[in-house]
Amino acid sequence: VVTLTPDQRKLITDKNLAHFVTLMKDGSPQVTPVWVDCDETHILINTAAGRQKPLNLSRDPRVALSIADTDDIYRYIQVRGRVAEVTTEGAFEHISKLARKYRGEDYVYPARPGEQRVIIRIEPLHVSGRL
């Protein structure tokens, strides 16, 4: 497990999208652009239970992410990691926080009946790129 540098954390907490890769049953990659966040040690993604991503992760916890700076295409990081935890705890509050980050302070993430949000907590194993 590696520790994210302040510059890497800033790229993640700034309003940049991550492209999040999981492995399908046949081992081929699935990629989705997602909102992204991090804490001191982990990278955090928020998705909904029942989608392809959590399904893939329950089978194979190996993931990758790449994030480019929207203001400077030459600045990016690529991360290889492993899912440490998938949790519903605080997941709606977390998607609400992400919605404010990406859509603006006034944006309220709508509660959708039947939608269970989950936080995917990722341990970075290898980080490279150019910042």
Partner: protein
């Protein structure tokens, strides 16, 4: 093999950054942002020999690309495909063309001209996303 729709082709031809996932030897994933092009039904990306990506696709040609419209984050496209050819001829010139597309008409080719560039010719097999 599928034909990309005009809107999907447009997303590739405009200067939107693509993220390319390839498979490492142990089955884990490598994902990299890169410049992308489209011609004659194939998705084209340009990288340098010696890097992980060409090694990976020679071993396992299954790749997946993801793009977001730079002007509208709700519009995105995932393309699953297979690398059908690695092209050296014209690859350096192709990178110059990509530099002009992404960084402006006066942009210089960012690679040293001694670098062996390679184009991945990717056959699209399946798409998902919000751009039809």
């Amino acid at each position: 093999v599928i034909d990309l729709t005009p809107e999907q082709q447009r997303l590739l031809l405009e200067p939107n950054l693509a993220h390319l996932a390839t498979l490492n030897k142990d089955g884990s994933i490598q994902s990299t942002p890169l410049w992308v092009d489209f011609a004659d039904g194939y998705v084209l990306v340009n990288t340098a020999e010696g890097r992980q990506k060409p090694k990976n696709v020679r071993r396992d040609p299954r790749v997946t690309l993801s793009l977001v419209d730079r002007r509208d984050g709700q519009r995105y496209l995932e393309i699953r495909g297979r690398v059908v050819e690695l092209i050296h001829e014209g690859a350096y010139e192709h990178l110059t063309k990509m530099a002009h597309k992404y960084a402006g008409p006066s942009a210089r080719n960012p690679a040293p001209n001694t670098q062996q560039r390679v184009i991945f010719k990717i056959e699209p097999l399946h798409t998902t996303g919000t751009v039809d």
